[in-house]
């Protein structure tokens, strides 16, 4: 570990600071929309808070976590120093500058457009430029990962790239593909409007371009957690990875199927046709295959560990697993939340059935369970696993780490379970104050308070997490393991992997074919039928 130690440390701290701020805002928002009167509540403060909550979690926490963990993997899995560390620090600086620019713009109330932008509502140009800087930083990271893998492959001709690095580069390739959508929307539509160069916008086109990014971005967040599932959990449980080849295939399937499916975010939009919605729903159905493969492969890997520790019978191995180890506990909780969140996702994606839940709390429950639950709890587990390497000290208290993970799981369930019923009852999204005088809405009040309690538990867990990380600094015993020891070995360490599973040339070609077929006409239609444009509505100017 040469350059990556400080890089990963810096990136992860920026991620977890943004995370803590977002957590506090999230709980305040739950309080604001509950029947209990909340302080500082106006429409402007609420929607600025929702923008900050979304930006901090979806853009800052995730991008910095992916970059930081990527540097760690690049150096420990490839066992060679990072190429061009100077560029890594330049990217870090760009990312932090962009984050500050966006946060300051939101705090001055000039960016109440939510993190998914709602053109023709247009915020101050500095909010968008901030996000462009964060994305630019992540692009530099992608190039560094590709160079690192290229150098390693030249130094080890014919040998398979370590799975952790292969997955990290798959994530980088997917991210380069998917940011094309939001970058096009920002550079050609939103920023020109924010600069006052254009007074109207094609809203159908901007929503379609954003949908190009909006689905694969969740896999950009998810893949570090899946890297932990495949490479750290089997080792932590004392077993072996069941199949390395299938692990590679899963990450390739994510790259392939997370991109041409964005229209399932626009199923209820008038400007996209039934036919292309159906096509992308069929492709979305295939996205659940790699996840189900992962459930089986990691299940088998844990079964090896459980049986090695004396687990008997069909399910005896589950009880025999070392649940006292945070990485193993986090994985169990993560899969439970993935199951619940995945169930919500199956309903969301089902073509006409989406009408039942679109823009209701059901969808909010879905992505809080999968992103807020599965992904973030594995971010905790990854942090706990690599902090000894970064600080050179052994973990002070596993009990506190386990408590924190349990609190996060319980808080997430208490918060999101009521949202499922509320969503089916019709509770719609992004509401600052509900009209609890209306009989239909009044019935929701108690449930909103229950989910507020869940939010408070999550806040307690988040603060405990930061405390656990800080406690490493006062711990005394030096860290025992070497960094490379974290990665699992497969039952059959792959001596030879087919070229297709060692590089991305074939998969890039297939992604191109998929994107042209799935997004070709849906994007071209805005240039074929001259769709009328909407006047820009600025949220940053004096009336």
């Amino acid at each position: 570990m040469t350059h990556a130690r400080n890089l990963t440390f810096a990136h992860l701290w920026v991620a977890f600071i943004a995370f803590t701020i977002a957590l506090v805002l999230g709980v305040w928002q739950m309080w604001a929309r509950s029947p209990l009167p909340a302080p500082f509540l106006t429409a402007s403060t609420y929607f600025s808070s929702v923008t900050a909550h979304g930006t901090a979690t979806a853009y800052v926490l995730t991008t910095f976590m992916v970059m930081g963990f990527g540097y760690y993997v690049a150096e420990t899995a490839l066992a060679r120093p990072l190429p061009a560390p100077r560029w890594a620090w330049i990217a870090f600086a760009l990312g932090v500058a962009g984050t500050l620019m966006a946060v300051v713009t939101i705090l001055t109330g000039r960016a109440a457009v939510l993190f998914t932008f709602y053109p023709p509502l247009i915020a101050s140009v500095f909010y968008y430029l901030g996000l462009v800087l964060v994305v630019a930083a992540s692009w530099i990271w992608c190039v560094l990962m590709l160079i690192a893998m290229g150098q390693w492959k030249r130094a080890n001709p014919g040998r398979p790239v370590p799975l952790a690095m292969f997955a990290t580069v798959a994530n980088a390739v997917m991210w380069l593909w998917t940011t094309v959508g939001v970058a096009a929307e920002l550079l050609f539509q939103v920023i020109p409007a924010a600069l006052g160069l254009k007074a109207e916008m094609d809203v159908g086109l901007s929503r379609t371009l954003f949908s190009w990014t909006l689905y694969a971005i969740v896999y950009f967040w998810l893949i570090p957690s899946y890297i932990a599932f495949y490479t750290m959990v089997p080792q932590a449980a004392g077993g072996r990875l069941y199949s390395d080849t299938m692990g590679r295939l899963t990450f390739v399937l994510f790259l392939l199927y997370s991109l041409p499916v964005g229209l399932h975010h626009l199923l209820m939009d008038p400007q996209q046709s039934n036919a292309f919605k159906f096509l992308q729903v069929a492709l979305t159905a295939l996205v659940s295959v790699p996840t189900l493969l992962t459930v089986f492969t990691i299940g088998a890997s844990l079964e090896i560990a459980g049986r090695l520790r004396g687990g008997r019978g069909l399910f005896g191995w589950i009880a025999a697993l070392p649940w006292e180890r945070p990485m193993v506990l986090a994985t169990g909780l993560a899969f439970l939340m993935l199951g619940l969140g995945g169930f919500g996702g199956l309903i969301n994606m089902s073509y006409g059935m989406n009408a039942m839940v679109h823009n209701t709390s059901w969808v909010t429950a879905h992505f809080h369970l999968i992103f807020g639950g599965t992904v973030v709890i594995m971010y905790f587990a990854i942090a706990y696993a690599i902090w000894p390497t970064l600080t050179g000290r052994a973990a002070p208290s596993l009990a506190l780490q386990r408590l924190q993970l349990w609190l996060w799981f319980i808080g997430m369930l208490v918060m999101t379970l009521p949202w499922h019923t509320l969503g089916l009852l019709g509770q719609w999204r992004r509401v600052a104050t509900f009209n609890y005088a209306d009989p239909i809405i009044a019935a929701w009040g108690p449930w909103v308070i229950v989910s507020l309690i869940g939010g408070v538990i999550l806040l307690a867990s988040g603060l405990l997490f930061v405390y656990n990380l800080l406690e490493f600094n006062v711990a005394r015993e030096p860290n025992a393991e070497a960094p490379g020891a974290l990665y699992a070995t497969a039952v059959h360490p792959p001596a030879r992997v087919p070229a297709t599973l060692n590089g991305f040339r074939l998969w890039n070609a297939l992604v191109l074919v998929l994107m042209v077929l799935a997004y070709g006409y849906p994007l071209a239609q805005f240039f074929i039928i001259k769709s009328p444009e909407a006047l820009v509505h600025r949220v940053d100017e004096r009336r």
């Binding site: 402007s44 006052g196 109207e200 039934n274 492709l283």
Partner: protein, 272 residues
């Protein structure tokens, strides 16, 4: 990449392409052909029409007849917004200044009303708001003995120049007025509206950084009596040039006390 094409790779390439193309064939068969045709038959649509509708080449659902409407337009205002108009309104011009002399008698040379009880301040007002009211006076969507006559001879360009001109002035400083503070209920209406009556916060449209409708005027720095008179005109629908009765539906839900309270609030508020 340095890997030479290994024979073992061929099955992976083969299987990957076959899997993807078969999904496409399935989706195209059902999504583009079978579903629309069978649904169309139920709604009496021929196969070609329903497939075009499913593909998004023709409007309408493949499963239902497309309703038509022969209603004639009876708009409450004839203003036609466009990007060009918005850009023109953002550029003050010399022509506006010369024309503005005709308005000085009531609105003041620099847009500061000579009598805030009767005539609104135009200094620093939104150019789109001034333009729309001028346009409505000229077209008759809004009637006022003085303003209808003043607006009649104006051309489109003159109205744009005048609006841009007055909008370019800084807002007038608030004259010290001994008005009682409007109270917490009024401030709640301004900041949070009243969900029970479906009244959005006034500042959702009229506040700074609100992103509300383009023609929503700034309310601060206006005379209390003038604001109250306009709200009452909307409440009685005597004034009805608001697009899709936005202001009429809000004013109808306000009590007289609230109308006076809101007028007082905005007339003594520096910036909101």
């Amino acid at each position: 990449m340095s890997d030479e094409p290994d024979p073992r790779d061929r099955p992976w390439r083969l299987w990957a392409s076959v899997a993807i193309l078969s999904v496409f064939a399935f989706s195209v068969l059902f999504g583009f052909v079978l579903l629309p045709v069978i649904q169309g038959r139920g709604a009496g649509l021929d196969a070609w029409t329903s497939i075009c509708r499913a593909l998004g080449i023709a409007p309408g659902s493949p499963a239902a007849p497309q309703p038509t409407s022969d209603a004639k337009a009876q708009p409450t205002t004839r203003v036609a917004w466009s990007a060009g108009l918005m850009e023109a309104l953002a550029r003050p011009s010399a022509a506006g200044a010369t024309l503005a002399s005709g308005c000085a008698a009531c609105h003041g040379r620099d847009g500061r009303s000579v009598d805030t009880k009767l005539y609104p301040d135009l200094a620093g007002q939104s150019a789109a708001a001034i333009y729309k009211q001028l346009y409505d006076f000229k077209q008759g969507s809004r009637a006022n003995p003085v303003m209808s006559a003043m607006a009649q001879p104006l051309t489109e360009e003159q109205m744009v120049a005048l609006s841009a001109h007055f909008a370019s002035f800084p807002v007038r400083a608030i004259a010290p007025v001994d008005l009682a503070a409007p109270g917490e209920a009024i401030e709640r209406l301004v900041a949070r509206g009243d969900p029970a009556r479906g009244i959005p916060a006034c500042n959702a449209c009229h506040g700074d950084q609100s992103g509300g409708p383009v023609e929503a005027p700034r309310l601060t720095h206006q005379g209390t009596q003038y604001l109250a008179a306009q709200l009452r005109a909307f409440k009685s629908a005597e004034r009805h040039n608001d697009i899709y009765s936005r202001m009429r539906s809000v004013a109808a839900a306000l009590s007289d006390g609230e109308i006076d309270g809101l007028a007082a609030f905005y007339s003594i508020t520096l910036a909101y």
